[in-house]
Amino acid sequence: MGRRAGEVRNWRVIVALLVVAMGIRSLTIMHPHSGEGKPPMHGDFEAQRHWMEITTALPLREWYRDGPENDLQYWGLDYPPLTAYHSYLIGAVGHKTIPEAFALHSSRGYESYSLKVFMKLSVIFSELLVYFPGAYYAVTGVAHVKLEHNRHQWIALAMLWLHPGVLLIDHGHFQYNAVCLGLTLFAIGAVARHKWWLGSVFFVLAVFFKQIALYYAPAFFFGILALCLQSRGGVGNVLATGVVVVAATAVVFSPWIIEQDWDGILQVAHRMFPFSRGLYEDKVANVWCSVSPVLKLNRLFEREVVLRISAGCTFLSLLPGCLCCFRRKYGNGTWVAAVVISATSFFLFSFQVHEKSILFPAVAAVLLPVASPPGVAMNLTRAVAIITYVALFSMYPLVVKDGTHVLYVCLSLVTIVFVEFACATTPVWRRGWRCVLLSTTAVHLVHFTFSPPSSHPDLWTMLFCWVSCFYFIAAAAALTICQYNCFYDLKYSSKVE
């Protein structure tokens, strides 16, 4: 009887949470988006619209190729095929609803009320179909106990569904990161359930939706490898997983394979990895950008060398965390920590990083408290909440560019309330949180009150980078040290509830 009542309550809480998450998204529809009213290039909103225009108007083999009909200089498609298919689907619906917004060439830079509503709705629907179930699958997958017994799972589910970063980037700035994140979360949930073949399929899909999912790749590689080797079947499992990955890739590229357009596949790969671009875009809270006032890697070395240095640093920083997966019978906590460390290392050290990329470590980190033993879950929830706030803070330069201040203020308020009144409840955490809050508020105040010195117009933006980069490095280091001390391992912590 009591159990049934509990189940009913769970169902009602989940629906209520879903309705609140959707309601908040529905209020963001009319918020400004990137590049609104800024010709000639506009921003990511226009890029997404342009891809819908291209994919619906041109045959598949021309999507990624420069041609008379497809000017790659103007927001050429540089995301993997799944994004292109996704654009095609939405564009097909769009052609039925607002044909003039997706007409080839003539729709360039098209802006209207109905297009805005249509595009924002497409984000909401994509999230509803992929990200929401993905988050649920991942949270229940990495957990040790059932949902109703553990409030950290509820917190994690709420934090994922209402993640301020996702809201700011996908619904404010305008992108479809949540689809990629949703597929990744499905993959994490599957691997945590020891269904590594399913996990690899989802991960391949995530990577071929947005190549940035490769941030997670080392952790998935080592995690799945260790899982395969440690379970019955051993090397056979590894081979089977390899076959699954190749098969999934083949399915994604099947239109090219059927046409035997091998050049086309190379062209897609070439578009996906634009090494000709810079080390980082705009001002990013990663290491290379933060040290740039004293050490400008781009100016010192050739592009090839820079690429090698950044790749080397990335691997050096992610390897310790990922190798922990080879401990005998590692737990989900260890593996999720490896995923977070991998993504954070990429963000901090890799090549061509955007400020939006912080979303990827930040979202994965939400799973950490759920995956860890109950004894450490509360402390991890606190840490994750604080890092979520810092991640939001680090994206402020983007907010200024897009004009999404109102959304930023709302999301910051909610995050601050959550940390201040629900998380920073012990003296140590309170002190740490005060430090974060004071430093970020000080930067905001400086940015708001004074205009930057004319000799260094980017100085205030750099302040945002330095402060958040400091916290990110600290978090990554703490994470790795904890990883080495078996912090996330069930074996070494208190027993399951």
């Binding site: 009602r12 209520a16 918020h31 009320y113 909401i124 109102v406 308020l413």
Partner: protein, 539 residues
């Protein structure tokens, strides 16, 4: 006095959620209030009610004008162009954010006053938060204030402060606050009869010297009103003409869900059935124009015309019925003497006054001339104060009022961008708001303490099958009305879905009103009294 510290995080959350609606659709009321900012800051006080550059002239009582004058000081600093009288329909981003923020600050004020009031009414901390949440996130306020754009929240905050004074048994102060409130927005005259009869019974005739008591409260209220109107006493005719524009039609463009909505619907149906060729009559109503009343012309095609006199008579009759019932309230003498002197009799008074206010609003909403659909808030919000203490089935009746009332507000938001929000809000009405409902006081707990005669009445709690059915119809009508314009056949009969929504919401609301009135006329006093006792001695 109170520990307001726990309200701070809640206020921050409230601000965050309400501010999200900044870029949503805003009605002409946004421009109305911008114009008032300009008029009050740029012209002399004597010109406020004369100035007519914009068509949206100042038509609220003086307190609201002073309020706008105060805001204008800040507005000038935010964006000077905002307070130019000739800058019609000016809506820069700074203007929009400024005006939205002022509304949200009103919500914060409502939050604090609700917390103060419910801390007195409900000693259980969790129930306090449930009640506060129901008030500050009231779905009707979300639509009317946060999106459509009006300043209701801080006015309701004043009403709650008046209630708070009642709970402290400072009835004169409560009367003064209410007088101030009426001088902010005269729609609060809807509940003036409630205050009048309440003051007469509980203050004037409850005191040893009724004449002196009447003089005290009368002077206080009259002085307040005079003070508020002081700068305009020489031009009261102008001010009153602005505040009460006579000559409007029986119903607003979109029929508020009251008796006349059903009457109009019946008229339209009869007209179709009997194939009456009407030249003017109800057709004008259904075309959605703000119809003017022309004396002598028929208002309906088939059914008898409704003249202002009929409406006035119905309203007055309803109010008399309410007053009589209240004066003769069952169990009054014995229970009241029982209550007096105890620390919870103030609480009992608040419950009583809230119920009276709701009843008075119900009478006006149902019967009076040219009612706006937004006036449902006047019924719903006083009821929210009661939700804590009423029997389980009645709390469902109150929720029914909130739900049907909210659905009837949907036509206010008609642009496609708000459609997803309306869908989410509909789901929230049934899946999220119920989580904030307090656990009603169980029947058994009361039956042990109430007199036998009363307890038999409690056994007759109504079954709500019909209510649920009508509410379901209202949901269907509201959702269909929301999408109608976007359907391929949306251009045909654009007002048919509006009529359907009006009629179903009216049926649903009127049934709930009837149940409330029935409750008031039977078990009210004993029930409320026992709830106020139980609130302090939980079993």
């Amino acid at each position: 006095m109170y520990h307001f510290y726990p309200v701070v995080p809640y206020a921050m959350l409230l601000v965050a959620v309400k501010l999200l609606a900044t870029y949503c659709y805003r009605s002409t009321d946004f421009e109305v209030h911008r114009n008032w900012l300009a008029v009050t800051s740029k012209s002399d006080v004597a010109e406020w009610y004369v100035e007519n550059t914009s068509q949206w002239t100042l038509d609220y009582p003086p307190n609201f004008a002073y309020f706008e004058r105060g805001l204008a000081y800040v507005a000038d600093w935010v964006d000077p162009a905002m307070t130019e009288v000739d800058n019609l329909c000016y809506a820069s981003e700074a203007t929009v954010i400024f005006q939205r923020v002022t509304v949200v600050l009103g919500d914060v004020f409502l939050l604090f006053s609700a917390y103060a009031l419910f801390s007195v009414l409900v000693p259980r901390e969790s129930a306090v938060w449930g009640a506060v949440t129901q008030l500050v996130f009231h779905p009707g306020l979300l639509i009317v204030d946060s999106i459509h754009f009006q300043y209701n929240s801080f006015l309701y905050a004043l009403l709650l402060i008046s209630f708070w004074f009642v709970s402290q048994k400072q009835l004169v102060a409560a009367g003064i606050v209410f007088a101030v409130l009426v001088c902010f927005k005269h729609i609060f005259l809807y509940i003036a009869p409630a205050y009048l009869i309440f003051m007469l019974k509980r203050f004037v005739f409850a005191s040893n010297n009724p004449v002196a008591a009447f003089a005290t409260v009368g002077t206080a209220v009259a002085a307040t009103v005079l003070l508020c109107f002081a700068p305009f006493l020489h031009q009261m005719d102008v001010v009153l003409a602005r505040m009460f524009p006579w000559g409007r039609g029986l119903t607003h463009a979109y029929w508020a869900p009251n008796v006349y909505a059903l009457y109009n619907t019946a008229d339209v149906l009869l007209q179709k059935i009997m194939r009456v060729e009407a030249e003017r009559a109800t057709c004008v109503n259904t075309r959605g124009l703000v119809d003017n009343y022309v004396p002598g012309e028929p208002t309906h095609a088939v059914l008898p015309s409704i003249t202002p006199k009929v409406s006035l008579a119905l309203t007055a009759g309803g109010l008399l019925f309410m007053s009589y019932g209240y004066w003769k309230l069952r169990g009054n003498g014995m229970l009241w003497r029982f209550a007096q002197g105890k620390h919870w009799d103030g609480i009992y008074l608040v419950y009583e006054l809230a119920l009276l206010c709701a009843t008075s609003s119900i009478v006006f909403f149902t019967f009076s001339w040219h009612v706006h659909e937004k006036a449902i808030l006047m019924v719903s919000i006083p009821l929210m104060v009661l939700v804590q203490c009423v029997p389980p089935s009645l709390s469902e009746v109150i929720n029914n009022v909130t739900q049907a009332g909210t659905l009837s507000l949907y036509p206010l938001l008609f642009e496609p961008a708000e459609l997803p929000f309306k869908v989410c809000l509909t789901l929230a009405l049934f899946f999220v708001y119920p989580l904030t409902y307090p656990t009603p006081i169980p029947l058994e707990a009361l039956q042990t303490t109430i007199p036998k005669a009363d307890s038999q009445l409690y056994a007759h709690l109504p079954h709500l099958f019909v209510d649920r059915f009508l509410l379901g119809l209202t949901v269907a009508a509201a959702l269909y009305q929301s999408v109608h314009a976007f359907l391929p056949w949306g251009g045909v009969y654009p007002f048919l879905p509006l009529i359907a929504l009006s009629a179903t919401a009216a049926a649903s609301l009127l049934l709930s009103f009837a149940r409330l009135v029935h409750f008031c006329s039977t078990v009210c006093c004993g029930w409320l009294l026992h709830c106020s006792v139980l609130a302090h001695c939980p079993t």
